[in-house]
Structure formats: structure tokens, C-alpha cells
């Protein structure tokens, strides 16, 4: 489509429906995930699927399902599921990965260079079927002979769902999960198994999978010494109190100046002031800010 045609197509859609904007604001307020104007059509599609399911005809009625009806909590969860469905894939958020590799990693290695243990730990919290931790593993392998030479890299991948973890451990993926994979990574780190692709052992060795409930305070206390935490599209399902507890754990689990990466368009606004929002090229992250009183806060 030519750019002029794109413009005309945008005009044909007309201004955003005010009810849709209210749903957008509700989702941001409750789940912390924002749909900018250019993603509103996607949100409308997702709402449309739920409306069909619920036999609801208008967005106004559907907004009521999300706000007034007794089943509103369950409906919100169902909508969030629709929103995040199919999100998981290798190299899902390239600007985030580039920022980790080009800016965050060199900075952290410099800070840690003088420490006796040369270890770089990344935690993929809510790793689902494993695409995210394996992506991180491959990316870090790319630096294994250069800036990560003589460093031990560990990727801890956790999820609540046993079936997802079992899938992750097989390291076998179909075309949907591998749709963003470049020829370079496909060739270097995958082998074909029937119609699927399997991650080669070289890209699996640094990753360990474990079942973990992020709300399990006792076990969360043991996830110490992290340099970077990835927690994408997971917190959106938690209520505010649980979110605050998890974020507090993340804060305590991260090393000083550690980084927390959330999903695309996901925010901690109104959840925690302990992290400092930073802008990196085309993405954002949260940096563990020093507390003035020095001590880590109890959860």
C-alpha cells in the first residue's frame, strides 16, 4: 500500500470510539499495559472476540461487562488473555534485546569487572514455553568470545505452568514461535526436527527451567543476585497488592543498579517508586534505584 493509501485507510477508520478509549484506560489502570492509538484496532479486535463469545453487540455493553457486572474480574482476565495470546516468540522485542546487548550489558560488565566472581545472571520470570530465555541465551552467546569472555552466564527461567515448562525443556518450536527469527540465528542455533525447529544444545546449556509462583514469598526470597530480570506480560494478571509484592521481591533480588525489563507498553506507574524509569533506544526499562536508608525493604 502506498503511504497516501495508508493515510486514506486511516481516515476510513474514523476517530477512535470513546468506549474503546475507556476500555484502553481501564486496562492500563488495572493491568499496566497501554495500547497507543496505532494499536487501538488490535484492541478492538481482541474486544470483538470476547464480545462474540459473550454475545454482546456494542463496546458500550462490553465496557459494562468489564466494570459493572459481577463477572467483571473474570471477563477482564479473559480479555487480557486475548490481548497477550500469541505474544510469545523468539526475538519478540528487538529494541529491548538490542538495548540489553549494546547498552546495559557493557555498562554492567564494567561495573562488575573488579568483583572476584565474573558471573552475569538473567532471570526470565514467567518464561512461558521458553522462547524468551533461549533468545537471551543465544544473544549472550554471541558475546561469549568477546565482552563475555571469562564470564559465566546463567539464565534462570521460571514459570507457574508445568505444561509450559515441559514444552520449554523439549526446546521444539513451530513456525509461529520462530516467525521473527533471522536466517543467521536460525542457521546457527537451531536444527530441523520434522516441520519444527529445535534449539541446539549449545544454546540451551546456560538456561535452567524451574517452576515458581511469583507470589510464593518464601521461594522468591531465594532468587538473589540477579543482574537483569525480564518479566513480560506477567504482572498484568496480578492485582495491585500482588503486583507490589512481586516488584518488591524483584527489587530485593536484583543487584545494585540491576535492570527490570517489562513487556512492550507495560508500565510500573502507580505500582512502585523504587525503580527509576529509563529510556533506551526504542524501549524503556526500570533500574533499581538506591534507597536513601540503605536497607532492603521487607515484603
Amino acid at each position: 500500500m502506498t503511504s497516501a493509501a495508508v493515510q486514506l485507510a486511516a481516515l476510513a477508520e474514523g476517530p477512535p470510539d470513546p468506549e474503546l478509549l475507556r476500555i484502553r484506560d481501564l486496562i492500563y489502570q488495572v493491568a499496566g499495559i497501554f495500547h497507543p492509538d496505532n494499536k487501538l484496532r488490535l484492541l478492538q479486535d481482541r474486544c470483538g472476540r470476547r464480545m462474540k463469545e459473550r454475545d454482546v453487540k456494542t463496546l458500550r455493553e462490553y465496557l459494562q461487562c468489564l466494570t459493572i457486572q459481577p463477572s467483571r474480574q473474570a471477563e477482564l482476565m479473559a480479555l487480557l488473555n486475548e490481548i497477550t495470546i500469541g505474544e510469545t516468540s523468539f526475538f519478540r522485542n528487538q529494541p529491548q534485546l538490542d538495548a540489553l546487548r549494546q547498552i546495559v550489558l557493557p555498562k554492567m560488565l564494567e561495573v562488575k569487572a573488579k568483583l572476584p566472581y565474573r558471573r552475569f545472571r538473567v532471570w526470565s520470570a514467567g518464561c512461558s514455553t521458553g522462547e524468551e530465555p533461549y533468545t537471551l541465551g543465544m544473544m549472550l552467546l554471541e558475546d561469549a568470545n568477546t565482552r563475555l569472555k571469562d564470564w559465566t552466564t546463567e539464565i534462570l527461567a521460571t514459570d507457574l505452568n508445568e505444561r509450559s515448562l515441559a514444552h520449554a525443556k523439549t526446546a521444539l518450536y513451530g513456525s509461529y514461535s520462530t516467525r521473527n527469527l533471522s536466517a543467521y540465528y536460525r542457521q546457527k542455533y537451531f536444527s530441523a526436527v520434522g516441520e519444527q525447529l529445535q534449539v541446539l544444545p549449545v544454546a540451551r546449556t546456560s538456561t535452567s527451567f524451574n517452576r515458581l509462583n511469583l507470589c510464593d514469598d518464601a521461594r522468591m526470597t531465594f532468587m538473589k543476585g540477579m543482574d537483569v530480570i525480564f518479566c513480560c506480560n506477567v504482572l498484568i494478571y496480578f492485582d495491585l497488592a500482588s503486583k507490589r509484592r512481586v516488584i518488591q521481591h524483584f527489587y530485593n533480588n536484583l543487584l545494585p543498579h540491576g535492570y527490570l525489563f517489562l513487556g512492550h507498553s507495560e508500565s510500573l506507574y502507580g505500582v512502585s517508586d523504587d525503580f527509576r524509569l529509563v529510556h533506551l533506544p526504542g524501549t524503556t526499562a526500570y533500574v533499581k534505584a538506591e534507597r536513601t536508608r540503605g536497607e532492603s525493604r521487607k515484603v
Binding site: Q7, L11, E13, F34, S265, Y269, H279, G282
Partner: protein, 299 residues
């Protein structure tokens, strides 16, 4: 921003001696003067006739008027319709945008003029959006300021094309802000050269300040909110993909920028501002600006 006396002298000489130095396009001065009048004294036909004098400006205005970026969602086929649909103020914004951006030299010495259009127009729109969000008194002035803030780049392109191209190449190669590269290569930045042109054009003092201090809003003698607002918007554009066609490889903590504390003196709601949401909101501008500029530039 320290300019050696000798370099500054050279710059001034070249600026004085060069006949093709940008002047405000002939059609714009009377048009903008006319559109400053109270709305009740304005006439649709007269406005249309004034713009129609410049065929290329008229075509560009029509393209812009058809973009959702300017808040209109029905196709307009004539300038007259555009004036009626968008109102005089929006049309002034559009005419000014086209007029200023057409000042770029035909040959930008390997630098893509589309990228400059995108940055200036994007910054103008972001300034207006940000101004509305923080209840800044004059969103229209914010738009104009965003549009003009990098006037100095136009000057550099005309007056010192080779030296500026070298600065631009350095900025691109090292992923550093353009003004830092200019400082290293030229000994001064577009803020300084922009101020010379802004003064020559006899722009109002607040706009001169925007042009000369948007990278150092803390130095504004009046602690101008407008300068700070433009500085922050400019930074957000550069971090989110509207950066003259290259990426600044760095991490920025928006909340800790000097401009934020300046602006917070004027806009108290900035103290607990949701920077993440603003950032996500701007993402939709980036695509639209890209589409619009490409279609306008071809007319």
C-alpha cells in the same frame, strides 16, 4: 555551548554574506500575519486564496490536512474544505510547518531531508500533545516552538554544508546526540546558529530562547517552561525513533533531566507524571509522522 570567537566570527560572516540564506517564504509572512487576527475577523476565501498563491505549499497543506495527526477524519479535497474542517489555527500550524520545512536546501549533502522533516514535525506534534497533557497554557505556541527548535540545522546545512555533514557523520557513527557532535566538529551547535537566524527573522524572544537553549533549558534566564517543554519533547522524539534517521545509543533517565525540574516549577502535576504512558502514547505519532512526511515530501 561554547563557541570560540573565531569560529563564531566566521559563522556570522558566512551568514551575512550568503544571499540564499533562508528567509521566511514570501507567502507565509502575510498569511501568518493575517491568521494572527481574531477568528471573527478571518475569512475562509481570503485564507484559501493566500495559500493557493504557492501551488506547492497548497498541495502540501492539503496532504497534511488529510492526516489524522491534525485531528481530521474525513477526506478533504480542497483547501477551502480544509480551512472549514480544521479551523484557522490548525491551518496556520500546517502552513507554517510546510513553509519552514521547505527551507531545507535541495541538496543536503548526503543527509536525508525527510529525516529532518520527520523530526521537526514529530517534535511539533509531541510538544502540543505534551502541552495538553500537563495543562500548559499555550499548546499552539508549543507546536510552533517544536517546529522551529532546530532552525539552526537548516542554517548549518546552508552555511557550512561540508562541516555539518562531517558532524552528522560523527553523530551517526558514534550514536551520540547531534549537538555533541557539532560541538566537537564545528565548535558550536545548531542552537547558536539557530539563534542568529531567529534573531535575523525577528522572532519573538521566547522563540529565540527555544531555538538557542532547548538542549540546556536550565540556562534559560527566565526558567522558561516553553524551552523546557520543547527540550523534553525533542529528547523523547530522539529516543523513540524520530532522530534524523539514526539511533542515539544511550540510556536516558527522563525524570532526572534538568528541563523536568524547570518545567515542574510551572506545571505542578509534573511531579507525579506518568512518563511511561506518555512514551507509549507517542509511539502512534511516530508511524503517522513517517507516513505523512513521505507522502508530503513527494508532492
Amino acid at each position: 555551548m561554547t563557541t570560540t570567537a573565531a569560529t563564531r566570527e566566521t559563522l556570522l560572516k558566512r551568514l551575512d554574506g550568503l544571499h540564499q540564506i533562508p528567509t521566511i517564504p514570501a507567502v507565509l509572512t502575510p498569511l501568518l500575519h493575517y491568521l494572527q487576527k481574531p477568528v471573527e475577523q478571518l475569512d475562509v476565501q481570503k485564507t484559501t486564496d493566500m495559500i493557493a498563491q504557492d501551488k506547492s505549499l497548497a498541495a502540501q497543506c492539503l496532504q497534511m490536512a488529510n492526516s489524522p495527526l491534525f485531528g481530521h477524519w474525513q477526506k478533504v479535497d480542497s483547501l477551502r474544505e480544509a480551512v472549514i474542517a480544521l479551523g484557522f489555527q490548525r491551518l496556520r500550524d500546517i502552513a507554517m510547518s510546510c513553509g519552514v520545512l521547505n527551507l531545507l536546501p535541495k541538496d543536503c549533502g548526503g543527509i536525508n531531508p525527510v529525516a529532518f522533516w520527520e523530526h521537526s514535525l514529530g517534535c511539533a506534534l509531541v510538544c502540543r500533545h505534551f502541552a495538553l497533557k500537563i495543562s500548559f497554557a499555550d499548546p499552539s505556541k508549543a507546536y510552533l516552538s517544536g517546529l522551529l527548535h532546530d532552525l539552526g540545522i537548516i542554517v548549518n546545512l546552508w552555511v557550512l554544508p561540508l562541516e555539518f555533514a562531517a558532524a552528522f557523520e560523527l553523530a551517526k557513527a558514534e550514536g551520540i546526540p547531534l549537538h555533541e557532535a557539532e560541538e566537537r566538529v564545528l565548535g558550536f551547535t545548531h542552537c547558536e546558529s539557530g539563534r542568529l537566524l531567529a534573531e535575523r527573522w525577528d522572532l519573538p524572544p521566547d522563540l529565540v530562547e527555544v531555538v538557542s537553549l532547548h538542549h540546556t533549558p536550565q540556562k534559560s534566564p527566565t526558567q522558561s517552561a516553553l524551552v523546557a517543554l520543547v527540550g523534553i519533547s525533542d529528547l523523547l522524539c530522539r529516543l523513540r525513533g524520530l532522530n534524523y534517521g539514526y539511533v542515539e545509543e544511550r540510556e536516558v533517565s527522563i525524570g532526572e533531566q534538568p528541563g523536568v525540574s524547570v518545567l515542574a516549577q510551572h506545571c505542578p502535576n509534573l511531579r507525579s507524571f506518568d512518563w511511561a504512558r506518555l512514551t507509549f502514547e507517542l509511539d502512534s505519532y511516530m508511524d503517522e509522522v513517517h507516513t505523512l512526511v513521505h507522502s508530503v515530501y513527494r508532492t
